[in-house]
Symmetry: C2
Subunit: 235 residues, 2 copies
DNA sequence: TGCGACAACATTGTATACAATAATTGCCGG
DNA sequence: CCGGCAATTATTGTATACAATGTTGTCGCA
């Protein structure tokens, strides 16, 4: 199974069990352990967490609402399979929203924010150093969310959360090469610019960063499988 | 009861019962029949539609996910009560997204789109002419969604759907006067510009339009009730 | 009279049972 | 040997039962 249950509620803000499942599935997608088309059976997921289908359904419906999962009536929930058009829309939205977020983050960045960003970036570097590709790719996605958090704009942050998760699926489907997509060196410059409050510089770097990510993609409809099975057999 | 069940599935795209409830509640909010803080009891809503709490819960969770409803653990679901900060964020997001949507709509507007827009606008005018304030205010909100639909960008459309619904609550809470907010004459110009493909003009009008809506607001924290009760007693 | 504890009630949270639908398998005829 | 049909199986959709929690009203006491 590619969903691993995290330890859960060690810290204060007690998340409900449905939220834990939601978070774990998003995490699995960000780490590219769960790919497009993967079936998420209710009993199957419920068994992992020891909860009833009621809870699982709540989590899956929430994921579906974010476009990360698709629910087909009477057939079940599957990890979404973004189309080329979806990909274009998602990146268009990111190019629109992220510069604004970045500017606000640079303007708003206090000591706490700087610490948050620095610590996250340290984890990114560490994951890369240790060769933990899964964590590295997830953290590089979450980096953008940390910026949104610092910007202190809940609405944008929620929008971006959805966009980042979908980006992960898009990258998995449409990337040209195996090259790591969200390069850490870009992030280093962003950390520097944001914590220094150089808004204009930060915005420019973010724009470049997003452009480079998108240029790593080849947005042509692939005959890629809804189910992972056929993909394995094709080779 | 301020939620009125619509006839439901007369047309093809069979919506699930949870979706019907979701739509009706959003509609009630857009028509300002449901105000901030109103309790949405599960049994209560279920009784209206003749469905079990299971269905109602799905609808409420979906609404909560959009920030239109707040679910307090073990206490129930309430129509959201946006703060001043929420309001600022929502309108900031609209000022960012809607010009883009408008530009795309003007660029993309074919005969079908023009028809959609014209028909919607006709309904708006009719509601106003007939003095049906509720329908008028709802249609003026939905007008923006029609533009998003024409733009053909699902991602933006979904974002905007959320923003428009929340705007309705914000306007209810923070408007200066009783004046109608989304003036139809603005919409007339937008229809004209979009269907003519005058993108630049349309964008400019939309920007002005949004600014005027926001200027009708007085964004100071009111001691307005979570529950509508205290509001009645205050007078 | 005012306050606090306790009990009765109402509402939500979760699990489970049953119904409905789709997928699978096996069978039969061509 | 293949294709279509039917029975079986698995999975989801919905309702309901029970547990947990919050709320409200009442009673006793200071």
């Amino acid at each position: 199974m590619t969903i691993t249950a995290t330890d859960g509620d060690s810290r204060g803000a007690r998340a409900s069990r449905a939220e834990v499942i939601h978070r774990d599935i998003v995490r699995a997608i960000l780490e590219q352990r769960l790919g497009p088309g993967t079936k998420l059976g209710e009993d199957e997921v419920g068994a992992i967490y020891g909860v009833s289908r009621t809870i699982v359904r709540a989590a899956l419906q929430s994921l579906a609402h974010e476009g990360i999962v698709v629910i087909e009536k009477n057939r079940g929930a599957f990890v979404a399979h973004p189309t080329v058009k979806d990909a274009a829309e998602v990146f268009s939205a990111r190019r629109l929203i992220e510069p604004v977020i970045t500017e606000l983050a640079a303007a708003n960045c206090d000591a706490a924010g700087a610490k948050l960003l620095a610590e996250h970036f340290a984890r990114e570097k560490q994951a890369e150093r240790e060769g933990d590709d899964r964590a590295a790719i997830r953290l590089s996605g979450e980096f953008h969310l940390v910026i949104a958090r610092i910007a202190g704009q809940g609405v944008y942050e929620n929008f971006l959360r959805e966009l980042v998760a979908r980006s992960s699926l898009i990258i998995l489907l449409y990337r040209r090469s195996r090259a790591q997509c969200c390069k850490v060196d870009h992030h280093a410059g962003l950390v520097e610019a944001i914590t220094s409050g150089r808004a204009e510089d930060a915005v420019r770097q973010m724009t470049v960063h997003l452009d480079e990510i998108e240029q790593e993609l080849e947005l042509v409809e692939t005959a890629m499988p809804a189910k992972p099975l056929s993909e394995l057999l094709a080779g």
